[in-house]
C-alpha cells in the first residue's frame, strides 16, 4: 500500500514538474524535450529487457514502424489525429512484436541482440527499396491534430510536448508498478539465474516474450511521436545506428530507475546538440568520451544515483 501511494506521489510530482517546466522552456528546448522523452520511451523498452539480462539492438524496428504509421497514414489517407495514429502504431507493433517475441524469447546474449538487429535491418532494406515510399529519402509527415484541434507554432510544440509528457508519465508509472510486480521481479531473477527461475516454476520464455512485446509497443509510441515532431520519416529510423543510440541511453541510465532513462535521454540530446555546435568537427568524440566517463564512474548507470538515494532515505 505504501509503495502504491509512493508511485502516486512520484507520478503527480513528475507531471507537475514536466508540465510546469514546459511552460518556461524556450521553443528549441521544448522541442528537444519532446524528442528526448519520445526516444526515452524506446530506450525504456530496452531497459525493460535489460532487467531480464537481454539487450535488444533492434528497437529501431518498432521505432520505425511507429514513425511510418504516422507518415503513411498522413500521406495516403490524410489521417493526422495523433490519438488515432498512436493507437494504430500500438496495434502494428503489437502484431509485429507478437509475431517475433515468442521466437526471439528462445535466444540470449549476443544471439538475441543480433537477431533483433537483423529484423530491424530487414525493414531498413525493404523501405530503402520502396521508391513509392520515397526510398532512402523518406517522406514528409503532416503536423498532427489533437481530436480536431489543429494548433500551429508554439501551441503545436506545446500540445505535442504535453501529449508526450502525459504518455511518458503514465507509462512510467505503469512500468514502475510492473517492475515491482511478480512479473517484474521474475525478470530481475532471470538476470541473476535463469535456471533457478525455471526450477521455481516460472517460465523464462514467457517472461522474455512479454517483455519483448511491451518494449515493441513502447518503441512504436516513441516512433509515432518522433515522426510527427520531426515531420519527416526515412528508413534511417530502422538503421542500426539508431538502435545503437537507444542502447546508448539504456546503458547511460542503467536498469534500476525509470526516471533515469528519461534523464539520460535528455542529457544525450543536450550533449549532442551543444557538442555539435561548439565542436562541429569532433562532436562524435565528445559523445564517446561522455559515455566512457559514465561507464567508468557509474557502472550501473545514472539510475544507481537515484536508487542509492532512495535506499538511504527509507
Amino acid at each position: 500500500m505504501k509503495a502504491l501511494s509512493d508511485i502516486r506521489i512520484t507520478t503527480a510530482l513528475a507531471l507537475v514538474v514536466l508540465v510546469g517546466g514546459g511552460q518556461l522552456l524556450p521553443d528549441w528546448a521544448l522541442f528537444l524535450m519532446t524528442i528526448a522523452l519520445a526516444k526515452g520511451l524506446v530506450s525504456l523498452g530496452i531497459v525493460m529487457q535489460m532487467r531480464a539480462g537481454l539487450v535488444s539492438f533492434g528497437q529501431g524496428l518498432f521505432f520505425c514502424i511507429g514513425a511510418y504509421v504516422s507518415g503513411l497514414m498522413a500521406n495516403f489517407t490524410g489521417v493526422t489525429d495523433i490519438f488515432l495514429l498512436t493507437a494504430l502504431a500500438v496495434l502494428a507493433c503489437l502484431a509485429v512484436g507478437g509475431a517475433f517475441g515468442p521466437l526471439l524469447a528462445n535466444y540470449r546474449g549476443i544471439f538475441f541482440a543480433m537477431l533483433s538487429l537483423s529484423l530491424s535491418m530487414i525493414l531498413y532494406g525493404v523501405l530503402s527499396k520502396m521508391n513509392s515510399l520515397g526510398g532512402t529519402d523518406g517522406l514528409n509527415v503532416a503536423a498532427p491534430t489533437f481530436a480536431g484541434y489543429a494548433p500551429e507554432g508554439r501551441d503545436l510544440s506545446m500540445t505535442l510536448y504535453l501529449y508526450t509528457v502525459v504518455i511518458v508519465v503514465f507509462i512510467g508509472a505503469m512500468l514502475r508498478t510492473g517492475f515491482d510486480s511478480q512479473h517484474g521481479l521474475v525478470s530481475l531473477a532471470i538476470r541473476s539465474n535463469e535456471l533457478r527461475v525455471e526450477y521455481l516454476g516460472a517460465s523464462v520464455r514467457r517472461t522474455n516474450a512479454i517483455n519483448y512485446v511491451i518494449s515493441a509497443v513502447l518503441g512504436g509510441i516513441g516512433g509515432v511521436i518522433t515522426g510527427l515532431a520531426i515531420g519527416h520519416v526515412d528508413p534511417e529510423y530502422a538503421y542500426w545506428t539508431t538502435s545503437g543510440e537507444f542502447v546508448f541511453v539504456a546503458i547511460l541510465a542503467g536498469y534500476l530507475s525509470i526516471p533515469a532513462v528519461f534523464v539520460a535521454s535528455i542529457i544525450l540530446e543536450l550533449v549532442r546538440s551543444f557538442s555539435n555546435l561548439y565542436f562541429p568537427n569532433t562532436w562524435q568524440m565528445v559523445l564517446g568520451v561522455f559515455l566512457l566517463v559514465i561507464i567508468l564512474a557509474l557502472p550501473n548507470g545514472l539510475g544507481s544515483l537515484f536508487q542509492r538515494r532512495r535506499e538511504g532515505g527509507s
Binding site: L25, A29, V263, S273, P280, L302
Partner: protein, 438 residues
C-alpha cells in the same frame, strides 16, 4: 570515495541540464552582423568530397566578402555592409538530427539565414520546419527534384539546379560528340540518388538515342568500396558506354579497381558527378572519361574562365593547396545568391537589416552571376534555381602535371532543365518540350 564520485556525477548531470536549458537566453544578433548557419558534412562519407571543400570555400568567401575583396556587383562589404558571421554545423547523423539542429540554429542561435544540406533526405525533411518557423533557408547542394515538385514553400530556396540536368547533359554529349552507343550499362549506388540518376539516364537516352539498349544495371550498396563483381559483370556484358553517378570514396575505389582492369580501354565511361575525385586520384583518373560536375563547375569552369572563376580558383588553391571542385563552386553560388537577395531587400526597405519575409521576397525569381555562370530562380514558382551545365573529357596534361578537361560542351540552363511546373521525369520522357538550346 566511490560515493563522492557518484555525487559529483549527479551534480554534474544536474548542472549540465540546467545550464543547457538556460543557455537559450542568448541575445539576438545585432543589426551590424548577419549570422548565417552553414550546414554541411564534416564527418562521414560525404565529408571529403562535398562537405569539407564546400565549407572551406564558404569560409574563404565569407572572409573575402567581409574584407570587401570581391569585384562589382559584390564589392559591398559582407552582406550589404553587415559583417557575416558563420555558425558551422555537421550534417552527419540523419534527417532527424538535422531537423533538431535546424531548430536550434533558428531558435537558439538566432541565425538570420541557414544555408546548407547535401543529402536529399535532409533537403526534404528541413523545409517544412523552415516554413513553420518562418526562417529563411537556402539549400545549396542536394539533387532530388522532389523538394519543389512535391512541396511548395515561401521561405525555402535552392540555389543549385536539381539533378535532372546531370544525366540529360550526359546523353546530349553522346549525340553531339557522335559517340556510338549501341548498348550501355550502369553502376549506381543503391539509394535514392543512384536510382534516380539511372532512371534519368535511361529516360534521356531513350529520347536522344532510342536505338541504344540499356543492358545491365547494377546497384552496389552505398559505401561498398569493393566493385570486383560489378566490374566483371560489366566487362562480360561489353557495353559501349558505362554510366555511373558514384561519388566520393566509392567513385575513387571504383575508378582505381576498374582502371586497373583496363575497363576504360574497352568502353567509354561517363560519370555524372565525377569531377570531385580528381584532386585525390590525379593521374590515376584515366584519359577519355566523360565527366560532369553537376553544373559548370571545377575544371569545366576553369576551361571557360572568367573573373569570378579565376578569383575562386586562385584564392582557393592558395589557401588549401588543391583546386576547387564542384562543392566550393556551389557554396559560392549559394552565398552570392543570399548576398544578392539581402542587398536587394535592403535597397527596398531603406537599408535596414531585412526580415526573413523581405529576403524571401527578394530572392524569388532572382538572377545573379556566380563562378558557375548565371543562376536563375526559374522553377518551383521562383524558388528553384537553374544553371548552365558543362560536360567534358579528361586529359592528363603531362607537362603541367595536372588534369585538364577537353572537348567541353556547354549547355544553357534552359536547355537541360525543365520549364516551370513540369515534373522532371515527365519532361524527359516527353522529349524535353520547351527546351531552349542553341
Amino acid at each position: 570515495m566511490k560515493l563522492s564520485v557518484k555525487r559529483l556525477m549527479g551534480a554534474t548531470a544536474a548542472a549540465a541540464l540546467s545550464l543547457g536549458i538556460g543557455a537559450g537566453a542568448q541575445a539576438a544578433s545585432h543589426s551590424d552582423t548577419f549570422k548565417i548557419g552553414l550546414v554541411t558534412f564534416l564527418s562521414g562519407g560525404a565529408a571529403e568530397s562535398f562537405g569539407v571543400p564546400a565549407l572551406n570555400g564558404g569560409k574563404l568567401l565569407i572572409d573575402m566578402l567581409n574584407k570587401g575583396e570581391l569585384p562589382a556587383p559584390y564589392d559591398q562589404k559582407g552582406f550589404g555592409g553587415m559583417t557575416i558571421e558563420a555558425v558551422e554545423i555537421d550534417e552527419a547523423g540523419g534527417a532527424t538530427k538535422q531537423v533538431q539542429e535546424f531548430r536550434n540554429l533558428v531558435q537558439r542561435e538566432k541565425v538570420d539565414a541557414v544555408l546548407g544540406y547535401v543529402s536529399s533526405g535532409d533537403c526534404l525533411a528541413v523545409p517544412p520546419v523552415a516554413e513553420e518557423l518562418k526562417a529563411f533557408l537556402v539549400l545549396y547542394d542536394c539533387g532530388t527534384p522532389r523538394v519543389f515538385e512535391e512541396g511548395s514553400y515561401n521561405y525555402v530556396f535552392r540555389t543549385a539546379a536539381h539533378a535532372t540536368m546531370d544525366n540529360v547533359s550526359l546523353a546530349k554529349y553522346m549525340t553531339s560528340r557522335g559517340i556510338k552507343v549501341d548498348s550501355y550499362a550502369g553502376v549506381n549506388q543503391d539509394y535514392a540518388w543512384g536510382q534516380d540518376s539511372w532512371a534519368d539516364s535511361v529516360a534521356s537516352m531513350g529520347v536522344l538515342m532510342p536505338d541504344a539498349k540499356a543492358s545491365t544495371a547494377l546497384f552496389p550498396k552505398i559505401f561498398a568500396g569493393q566493385y570486383g563483381t560489378e566490374i566483371s559483370a560489366v566487362m562480360r556484358e561489353k557495353p559501349d558506354l558505362l554510366h555511373s553517378s558514384l561519388w566520393g570514396g566509392d567513385l575513387q575505389a571504383f575508378m582505381l579497381q576498374a582502371s586497373a582492369r583496363g575497363i576504360h580501354k574497352r568502353m567509354r565511361i561517363a560519370l555524372a558527378a565525377g569531377d570531385h575525385v580528381i584532386p585525390q586520384l590525379g593521374k590515376k583518373m584515366p584519359d577519355g572519361i566523360i565527366l560532369g560536375a553537376r553544373g559548370m563547375n571545377g575544371l569545366a569552369a576553369r576551361a571557360k574562365g572568367g573573373e569570378l572563376v579565376d578569383l575562386l580558383w586562385d584564392r582557393y588553391k592558395a589557401a588549401y593547396g588543391v583546386f576547387p571542385v564542384q562543392a566550393p563552386f556551389r557554396m559560392w553560388q549559394g552565398l552570392l545568391g543570399v548576398k544578392s537577395a539581402v542587398e536587394k531587400a535592403m535597397k527596398a526597405n531603406g537599408g535596414m537589416k531585412p526580415t526573413a519575409e523581405q529576403m524571401a521576397a527578394a530572392m524569388k525569381g532572382l538572377s545573379w552571376e556566380a563562378p558557375s555562370g548565371t543562376i536563375t530562380m526559374a522553377l518551383g514558382n521562383g524558388h528553384q534555381a537553374i544553371q548552365p551545365n558543362a560536360i567534358g573529357t579528361t586529359k592528363w596534361d603531362e607537362a603541367a602535371g595536372e588534369m585538364t578537361l577537353v572537348d567541353v560542351e556547354y549547355y544553357d540552363a534552359e536547355c537541360v532543365n525543365p520549364p516551370d511546373g513540369v515534373k522532371a521525369v515527365e519532361w524527359i520522357k516527353a522529349g524535353f518540350p520547351g527546351a531552349k538550346c542553341d
